[in-house]
């Protein structure tokens, strides 16, 4: 099982992500700089969080057009598992590898706190170690996490089990009060129709060790690393 973490200028969660991969898989990931045109052969490609290019133009817009992204797209087309977290999610939508777009939070405020997520689909390579309907607690830290997609795209997402997680209350109720950023249908994470590319705003890599307050993010890495093995 080999993992590549793509590093863009302005990214700041790549080390947290590397620690998570190392902790769960026992193997070091390869760090790949954004100017590379070829990613070494890997089973899993991760785009971590941060503020690539200072969120200039639109969050993820500039990074999505960097040289390395051509190979990310090629690997995605070949069925390699690709996962984006926070800014990585924004980059994947800007690159057209995931549907929709992440807009400014409804509150206009940066939000940094734990939120609850309901696992909507546990039959995916990203969520198989969770149960459907399970509620997990995971931190968010973003200014632009307000997921938007047009009606047709949303319908296709819902029809194909494309919604992985929704923001919810601690008891699992999906309502407006628990919608931390104004996302359409409380969507916190999605996958593509082919099932090998996913993105989410919350940070599972920050909850894999009890010392950091919980391990609810660990099952995501166990799922994705097992799938990529």
């Amino acid at each position: 099982m080999k993992t590549a973490i793509i590093v863009f200028p302005g990214i700041n969660r790549e080390r947290d992500m590397a620690t998570a991969i190392r902790t769960v898989s026992g193997r070091d990931p390869v760090m790949v700089w954004h100017t590379e045109t070829e990613i070494p052969p890997v089973d899993l490609v991760i785009l971590p969080g941060g503020y690539s290019y200072g969120d200039y133009l639109r969050p993820g817009a500039i990074a999505a057009r960097s040289p390395v992204m051509r190979d990310v797209a090629r690997k995605a087309a070949d069925g390699v598992t690709v996962m984006g977290v926070c800014n990585g999610f924004q980059i994947l939508t800007e690159a057209g590898l995931l549907p929709g777009v992440l807009m400014r939070n409804r509150s206009l405020r940066f939000v940094c706190r734990d939120v609850h997520l309901r696992v909507e689909n546990s039959q995916t390579r990203f969520t198989r170690h969770y149960d459907a309907g399970q509620v997990i607690r995971i931190p968010v830290a973003h200014h632009d996490g307000n997921y938007f997609a047009d009606a047709e795209t949303l319908r296709r997402l819902e029809d194909t089990g494309g919604v992985l997680f929704r923001y919810c209350a601690p008891d699992g109720t999906v309502n407006d009060a628990s919608n931390v950023n104004g996302s359409t249908a409380n969507i916190a994470g999605v996958r593509n129709v082919a099932g090998n590319v996913a993105g989410m705003m919350p940070h599972p890599e920050n909850l894999i060790d009890p010392l950091l307050g919980g391990t609810d993010g660990r099952a995501l890495f166990e799922s994705v690393l097992e799938a990529a093995a």
Partner: protein, 81 residues
């Protein structure tokens, strides 16, 4: 030629920044202001003397980078310099 590209949010896309601006205008007493939408303007020189070719290139720039057509519309204005 000089290009001015105006990028605006599509109808129906929520614009929380526009709403915040509108509230602030109302606070200042501009009660008549409504339906505020925030966009952006990008200006650039284009080394191309043929207007049709310049427009085609600018259109491609908009589709591939300058606008996210999931949520944004764009308009291109060209002037000879």
């Amino acid at each position: 030629m000089r290009a001015r590209i105006r990028i605006t949010l599509k109808d129906g896309v929520l614009d929380p920044q526009g709403q915040a601006i509108e509230k602030s205008l109302h606070t200042l007493g501009f009660e008549e202001a409504g339906n505020v939408r925030q966009g952006k303007v990008i200006e650039l020189d284009i080394a191309e003397s043929d207007e049709d070719r310049a427009r085609a290139r600018l259109d491609e720039m908009c589709r591939r980078l300058l606008a996210n057509t999931v949520i944004e519309n764009y308009e291109i204005e060209l002037t000879r310099t």
